[in-house]
Symmetry: C2
Subunit: 199 residues, 2 copies
Amino acid sequence: MARKSGSSGIKTAKQLHETATVLFAKNGYAAVSMRQIAREVGVQAGALYLYTADKQSLLFDLLDEHMKDLLDAWEGRTTPHEITPIDQLERFVRFHIRFHLPRADEVFISYMELRNLTPENFEVIQNARRTYEAILHDILSAGQTDGTFKVSDTKVATYAIIAMLTGMNTWYRDEGRLSLDMIEEIYLDLVLSAAGATP
Amino acid sequence: MARKSGSSGIKTAKQLHETATVLFAKNGYAAVSMRQIAREVGVQAGALYLYTADKQSLLFDLLDEHMKDLLDAWEGRTTPHEITPIDQLERFVRFHIRFHLPRADEVFISYMELRNLTPENFEVIQNARRTYEAILHDILSAGQTDGTFKVSDTKVATYAIIAMLTGMNTWYRDEGRLSLDMIEEIYLDLVLSAAGATP
DNA sequence: TTTACATTTGAACGCTTGTTCAGTTAGCGT
DNA sequence: ACGCTAACTGAACAAGCGTTCAAATGTAAA
């Protein structure tokens, strides 16, 4: 056997990314072998190297893709002009939850596997993350300036709120007690309170 | 050479735990080899098996030790009788920060390497974690009942607050902008606000 | 039908992995 | 001084690792 009937490059490439995402999330980058990924994709290990230069690039591509999607999704929203910091914060929280919850595996990898990136690759992802954090920081700063928010330190508050929101991914389950809509409202309350929002 | 001069079992055992903690935190459990640990300890790989049954037990012991220390430290505090939920929450926050900040590596491992535990070992650590979360949940529930706190869901608030607090470990550096005391106050504010505390 | 190319196999490469164990030495109690 | 045990070495084991590549086969265009 060599080439398989019905084989297609784009399909295999997509399956590679999907499989790697799931396996990396479940077992960790270092613990997953190329052969294991290949088996799940339904191909021999050698074939994977038509779609990735090496294992490291595979990890980087997944993370880079995820961060690009995140930032693109934020940029792509329809935003009314001149809305209050409170409305901005509300929009950010809802966006964050809606974007992150359906991407549990990607989010998990993005937080867990940073240390397995080469320094250059790490830099790229880190920058993207900083860009995202800056969005929230700008909102908090604006609210702090005009008096609608009251936090002792906008930088720390930024980290705290993002950690709080992202932590959701560690316990949320689709079959759980609360619907996505309810969770959204609960977290919105928590974040607005934490920011000391005075409507 | 065989036994080395000045060698002592307890010393090597301690070095093994310390070295493993640092290396697992920096590179991840799966990415660290027993030989790498041995080199750092200053011993051949075979010698490590005098102090751990296998690599898995080594990881488990580190996590188990950490969780036991955490729960023991909480139990061992001096607690006045009959204090208000607000005071209880304040005590919890300060305790959490003071305990976790100097243990960056242990905390990191505790969150990152859970998936590398066998199911039985995972269960043990998970239970300890649940015990810890229950402490905060009880405080929030008490405050919710007597009206000093106002949160839409005490369970979610518990997760959110712990995520917020533990997230600190990802950005805190000793040489950073803020002193430990300042950070403590900032986080205390954030948590009390998030809990909707009305003094 | 032939040609060109996309896709995959399967074997091979050198290296590392966790773990075991017989043999060797250091320190200590007697 | 002797013997016992604690501590460690160094080699060995089978298995698995990431990666490369010539060869084989499917697909599509000419």
